[in-house]
């Protein structure tokens, strides 16, 4: 059974979704979903162990070997990202047990859990597969499920945000489809491994570079890179807070993984930089993203939108890492991918607790929260600190490697800009802390919540948040696991990329 792990990783949540539609009572459905997510987390741990033992796993679906049938290739990078995705998914679903009662009417909860599992299966499918068209299919599954999840938000603007995200997402997916079409017309194959072998001999043609441009633009649309990020803030702000916690920590990360996978292992490093000045573009867009998003984040009244803009800024950091094109740069991106998932997961889960208790995520609701909900507020503060990149937190590690990469690539101004970016982050986190601890709590509460309800968030919401925060701190100190794996992956990719 151990040899079938790669396919089980995706099939377990995929088949759990229709199965849990059959048993219709919501308590049972929730337990079933938690079991499915736990199982997929277990499988991803085993996979990471297997891959670290004896290198890339290859699994031919339907028994047909590589270029003819579909092939699953799990290397260190995919195992690493899958661990992040399934870990966050399990934590969020545990918190969803009580977190959802106020947000989603009872009879729709079963369908919510089914869509959640489908989204998880889609994301895992993208990471595991080694076939480009399969990436497109699973990208569609996860995006459709995400549009549906966002539309569950209570606020009527959630519908409008979901619609905008749908239009932008579908255009992005169609661009990727056009890119795959061009690649197919050039090489005749869909398997990534096979493509990487056949692209260099047709590298000169304009078709290959156009295909590359279209695929990168499509992925950047999904990634919400700076100029194409307009859909993200509304989508994250108006979606149910637990959905935002799940999406913020996983959806954009999988898109970054896709960019890395296509950039390095399919097109190869020197092809990417030769076809168009990609490094220059990525660097400028990344930096622009950091500054604009952080500046806008400072003036946001709604905390969820604030963190959504800060996510765009963090993605900007990741893109800067890729922009360097060096092994250290890639390692910084991978580190930040892992750490950002932890940070944002913790922050949004804590926010979910606040919204659960107070019903709104507005800065006015935050006034005097430090006393009323000490634990949640402490989690938010620590998450904010690691967002800034304070030492002893996981954010510091990734910022440190980013600056190292900038210096090694000899781009002094970029290193300075990265530091000023984090200072901007300090401003908007401080705004939050100052509101929570120093401003007196308003005597009358927004829309008069009943008395006893205002104390700490329920345990099921707090435990996952604090679990993430502890992992945040632990990995900030003992960096062996994260730095080790990302270093190995970076050298493997860049080494293997040529």
């Amino acid at each position: 059974m151990l040899s079938h792990l790669p396919i089980l990783q995706v099939v377990v949540p995929l088949l759990a979704a229709p199965a849990c539609l059959l048993l219709d009572r919501s308590r049972l459905v929730w337990i079933f979903t938690v079991l499915a997510c736990g199982l997929s987390l277990l499988i991803s741990m085993l996979l990471l162990y297997q891959v670290s033992q004896h290198g890339t796993l290859s699994y031919d679906l339907g028994g047909w070997d590589a270029p003819w049938g579909i092939e699953y290739r799990i290397d260190l990078l995919s195992a690493y990202v899958m661990l992040v995705v399934s870990g966050i998914a399990t934590l969020v679903i545990v918190a969803a047990g009580t977190g959802l009662e106020r947000e989603i009417p009872l009879e729709k909860q079963t369908v919510f859990y089914v869509t959640y599992l489908l989204c998880l299966a889609g994301l895992l499918g993208i990471v595991a597969t080694g076939d480009i068209f399969n990436v497109f299919v699973f990208l569609e599954i996860s995006s459709l499920a995400t549009y549906a999840l966002i539309a569950y938000g209570r606020d009527r603007r959630a519908l409008w945000a979901a619609y905008q995200y749908l239009i932008v997402g579908t255009i992005g997916a169609t661009f990727i489809l056009i890119g795959i079409g061009f690649l197919y017309s050039l090489t005749g194959t869909l398997n990534m491994q096979d493509l990487a072998a056949r692209i260099p001999d047709s590298a000169g043609s304009r078709t290959a570079s156009t295909a590359f441009v279209f695929i990168v633009v499509g992925v950047c649309l999904k990634l919400a890179l700076f100029p194409l990020h307009l859909w993200l803030p509304n989508a994250y702000a108006y979606a149910p807070s637990l959905v935002t916690a799940f999406l913020a920590a996983t959806a954009t990360k999988v898109a970054v993984y896709l960019l890395i996978r296509l950039h390095f292992s399919v097109f190869g490093e020197q092809f990417a930089s030769s076809s168009l000045p990609l490094h220059g573009i990525l660097l400028t867009l990344g930096l622009a993203g950091v500054f604009v998003a952080s500046l806008v984040a400072i003036f946001q009244p709604d905390i969820k939108r604030l963190f959504a803009y800060s996510s765009i800024a963090q993605i900007g950091y990741m893109i800067i890492g890729i922009g360097f094109g060096t092994a250290i740069g890639l390692q910084a991106t991978l580190l930040h991918l892992f750490n950002h998932a932890l940070m944002k997961g913790a922050l949004f889960l804590a926010l979910a607790a606040v919204v659960y208790r107070l019903g709104s995520a507005d800065i006015s609701a935050f006034r005097g929260l430090g006393r009323r909900m000490p634990w949640t507020m402490a989690a938010i503060v620590i998450g904010g600190l690691s967002l800034i990149g304070m030492p002893l937190t996981v954010g510091f590690v990734s910022k440190w490697y980013l600056i190292l990469a900038a210096i090694e690539a000899g781009m002094w101004p970029v290193a300075l800009l990265v530091v000023t970016g984090s200072i901007l982050a300090v401003v908007y986190v401080w705004r939050l802390v100052e509101a929570a601890y120093f401003q007196p709590p308003e005597n009358e509460l927004p829309e008069g919540l009943d008395g006893p309800d205002r104390r700490e968030a329920p345990l099921t919401l707090l435990v996952p948040t604090w679990l993430l925060v502890l992992v945040n701190i632990y990995l900030g100190i003992d960096t062996r696991l994260t730095v080790g794996t990302s270093g190995a992956v970076a050298s493997a990719l860049l080494g293997g990329g040529q």
Partner: protein, 116 residues
Amino acid sequence: MLPELYNYWVVILLMMTGFYIVIVQGNLIKKLIGLNLFQTSVFIFYISLGKVSGGSAPIFAEGVSSYSNPLPHVLILTAIVVGIATTALALALVIRIRNAYGTVEEEELQQRDLEC
């Protein structure tokens, strides 16, 4: 060289019309029609990749030597399904928006957003 590629250029013209409709149109439903147009023309692009002149449909029959390439057909079958699934979900969203906002025009939606 030019005449063979004529086919692809017409398809690209179709793609761009669909893309144009999606960007310019304010009405939500018209955007969906544009999106469907855009996707259908990408499918036509794929299928015209697979055509082998003189080849016949990829169903095994005696006496037929060269076939068209079956792989794009498989890809397109999946892509059509994806297209109709996205349209169905988008229409459900449009109906909910209509019930919630009372309008389907993008400008009015933005105004109503700014009010509250």
